[in-house]
C-alpha cells in the first residue's frame, strides 16, 4: 500500500492543509509519498521532504504546473498512479479542482472531504452542510480522496528526511492558461490555520465598519478575520473570507461571531471550533445555540468596549 499526496502550495511554501492530508494518508497504512507540482517550487519540495512520515517526494517543476491548472496537473498525476493505491489531497480549492479530474479519468468514484479514516477501511464524510455524517466504503480498486483539514492533526514539519525525485508529465495541455490573480497579501494569520478568528456578518453594514469594528478586535487578539456569506455577497470583504458549507471550513481555538445569525450553512463551517463566542442583538439568534459564551448586545457598542478592555 502506497499513497500519493498532492501538495497544496504557492510555489514558495507548503500549504498547512497538506500536513493534515499527510496525516490522513498515514492512516490508510503503508508508505506516503508527496507530489509537488509547481514552477520554481524547490523550497516546497524541500519542506515536504522534512515532514514527518513522508518517505519520498516527487517533484515536477515546469512552467505548465506553476498555476496548478487542472488540465495540466491531472495528466501528470494519472501518469504516476500506476505505482500507487491511493491519491489524497487536502480539500482546498486546488485539491477540489484537480482530484475529480484524475478520479474520472481512472474510473474511480472519489470520496470527498473525509473527516475520519475508520479501522474497517471506511471513511466518514459530512454531507448536508455537516448535518449528516455518512460512513462510506468503496469497492474501487484504488482510492481518490480529499481531506477536510479540520478532521486531522497536522503532521510535524520536522523529523522526515525523504528523498526528492524529479518527475515529469505531459506538460501544457493547451486547454487553459493563467491570465491574472487577485490575491491579497495580509499580515494576519491565515483563516484556516488561525487559532483565533473574529467573523463579521450582515450586521456590519459596510466594509468601513469591518475596518472600524472587526479589525481592531482582530488586531488585539492576533486573529484572522472571517465573514458570513451575506457580508461577502454585499462586498464588505473579499470572497476568501467566507466561512461555511460552501466557503472555508475552520476549527480555531476561539471563534467570535459578531452580527451573524447562525444559518446552517454558516454553522457548517465553524461549529467544530473549540470555543464559540457570539455577539448578537437578537437573543433568539440560532448562533447562541452553538455558542459557549453568548452576549446579547448591539455590536456597535459592545465590540469597541471589548476591544478597549483587552
Amino acid at each position: 500500500m502506497t499513497t500519493l499526496v498532492l501538495a497544496d502550495h504557492d510555489n514558495k511554501e507548503l500549504g498547512s492543509a497538506t500536513l493534515s492530508a499527510i496525516t490522513a494518508a498515514k492512516k490508510l497504512g503503508g508508505d506516503v509519498h508527496v507530489l509537488v507540482a509547481g514552477e520554481g517550487s524547490q523550497a516546497v519540495a524541500d519542506a515536504a521532504a522534512k515532514v514527518d512520515g513522508v518517505a519520498k517526494v516527487l517533484h515536477a517543476d515546469d512552467a505548465a504546473y506553476g498555476h496548478a491548472l487542472a488540465e495540466n496537473v491531472a495528466p501528470l498525476i494519472e501518469g504516476l498512479m500506476d505505482g500507487y493505491d491511493a491519491l489524497v489531497a487536502p480539500a482546498t480549492t486546488t485539491g477540489k479542482n484537480i482530484l475529480p479530474r484524475v478520479a474520472a479519468k481512472m474510473d474511480i468514484q472519489q470520496i470527498s472531504e473525509i473527516i475520519a479514516v475508520n479501522d474497517d477501511g471506511s471513511f466518514d464524510r459530512p454531507t448536508y452542510a455537516g448535518n449528516a455524517i455518512a460512513t462510506v466504503k468503496t469497492s474501487d480498486a484504488k482510492k481518490v480522496i480529499t481531506v477536510r483539514a479540520t478532521g486531522f492533526d497536522k503532521a510535524a514539519t520536522e523529523g522526515g528526511s525523504a528523498s526528492v525525485e524529479a518527475v515529469s508529465g505531459p506538460g501544457d495541455s493547451g486547454k487553459s492558461s493563467f491570465v491574472s490573480a487577485q490575491v491579497a497579501e495580509s499580515e494576519r494569520p491565515e483563516l484556516t490555520s488561525a487559532s483565533v478568528i473574529v467573523s463579521g456578518g450582515r450586521a456590519l453594514q459596510s466594509g468601513e465598519n469591518f475596518e472600524k469594528y472587526i479589525e481592531p478586535l482582530a488586531d488585539k487578539l492576533g486573529a484572522a478575520i472571517g465573514a458570513s456569506r451575506a457580508a461577502v455577497d454585499a462586498g464588505y470583504v473579499p470572497n476568501d473570507y467566507q466561512v461555511g458549507q460552501t466557503g472555508k471550513i475552520v476549527a480555531p481555538e476561539v471563534y467570535i461571531a459578531i452580527g451573524i445569525s447562525g444559518a446552517i450553512q454558516h454553522l457548517a463551517g465553524m461549529k467544530d471550533s473549540k470555543t464559540i463566542i457570539a455577539i448578537n442583538k437578537d437573543e433568539d439568534a440560532p448562533i447562541f445555540q452553538v455558542a459557549d459564551y453568548g452576549l446579547v448586545a448591539d455590536l456597535y457598542e459592545a465590540v469597541p468596549e471589548l476591544t478597549s478592555k483587552l
Binding site: 477540489k96 474511480i108 454531507t127 491574472s180 481555538e253
Partner: protein, 249 residues
C-alpha cells in the same frame, strides 16, 4: 453558442435535514425540495448569456426520479428553452452522473456546460470536474465571472487566496460559485410558458451508462451535538472569559 445546464433536485436549503431512525440516510419524505442553489446560479448565467445575444439555446438536463421534472420546469421558467430528463431509480454517484452528462453532451454538442460547483445534499464538488475529464475539455470551477470572447472564455474563479482568472479554450465546463450572479425568481407568465416547453425523457440504460454505485453507505449519523453554553451579562464578563482561555492578556 449553445449552453447545457445540468440541474439537481435537492432538499431546500432552508430545511434542516433529519436523519432517519435506522441511520440509512436523510429523511426526505414530506420535505420541501428545490433546485440546488448553485444550479439556479448556473441557469441564471446561461439565461443572461442568451439575453445578451451571446447564446442562442439553453438546454437544462436533470438526472434522478420522475419528480425532477419539476426542477426542469423551474429551469425552463427561468429562461431555458427545453429540458432533458434522465430517469434513474436512485440518485447516481457523481462519476455516474458525469458519465450520463458526457453522453448527453455528445448528443447535444453544446459550447459550454455550466454546472453548480456542488450540490447542497451530497456536498461532493466533483461532477463538473469529472465531466471535463471524460470529455477532455477545459474547466473553470468556482466561477464568479464568465466572459465569453472571440476565442475561448475567460473565467474568474473564487480560490482560497482570493480570485484568479483563467482563459479556457471552448468547448468548456464551468462550475458556479455564489457570487456569479443573483438568480431571478421566475415570473408567473414565464412559469405558464414553461409548461409548454418540451421535455425529452430517457433512462440511463438508453444512454448505455452503468450507474451501479461504487460506494456503500454503511450508516448516516448526526454529528456530535454542541451544547449551548452560557449567556454572559456584559462585556466585562466576556473579557474575563477570554483571559481565562489565555487568548487575551
Amino acid at each position: 453558442m449553445k449552453i447545457l445546464v445540468p440541474v439537481k433536485r435537492v432538499i431546500d436549503y432552508n430545511v434542516k435535514p433529519r436523519i432517519k431512525g435506522d441511520q440509512t440516510g436523510v429523511d426526505l419524505s414530506n420535505v420541501k425540495m428545490s433546485m440546488n442553489p448553485f444550479d439556479e446560479i448556473a441557469v441564471e448565467e446561461a439565461a443572461r448569456l442568451k439575453e445578451a445575444g451571446k447564446a442562442d439555446e439553453v438546454v437544462v438536463v436533470s438526472i434522478g426520479e420522475q419528480k425532477a421534472q419539476e426542477t426542469l420546469r423551474t429551469g425552463l421558467a427561468m429562461g431555458a428553452d427545453r429540458g432533458i430528463l434522465i430517469v434513474t431509480e436512485q440518485m447516481p454517484e457523481p462519476l455516474a452522473v458525469a458519465k450520463i452528462l458526457a453522453k448527453v453532451t455528445e448528443e447535444e454538442s453544446p459550447d459550454l456546460v455550466i454546472l453548480g460547483k456542488q450540490a447542497i445534499d451530497d456536498d461532493s464538488n466533483q461532477t463538473g470536474q469529472m465531466l471535463a475529464a471524460l470529455l477532455g475539455w477545459s474547466q473553470g470551477t468556482f466561477a464568479s465571472k464568465v466572459e465569453p470572447g472571440e476565442e475561448g472564455v475567460n473565467v474568474t474563479r473564487e480560490i482560497d487566496g482570493g480570485l484568479e482568472t483563467l482563459k479556457l479554450t471552448t468547448p468548456a465546463i464551468i462550475t458556479t460559485d455564489l457570487r456569479l450572479n443573483e438568480p431571478r425568481y421566475a415570473s408567473l407568465p414565464n412559469i405558464m410558458k414553461a409548461k409548454k416547453k418540451p421535455i425529452d425523457e430517457k433512462t440511463a440504460a438508453d444512454l448505455g451508462v452503468d450507474v451501479a454505485p461504487r460506494l456503500e453507505t454503511l450508516k448516516v449519523t448526526e454529528p456530535p451535538k454542541r451544547e449551548a453554553g452560557e449567556m454572559v451579562p456584559d462585556v466585562d464578563t466576556l473579557v474575563a472569559k477570554l483571559k481565562e482561555m489565555g487568548v487575551a492578556a
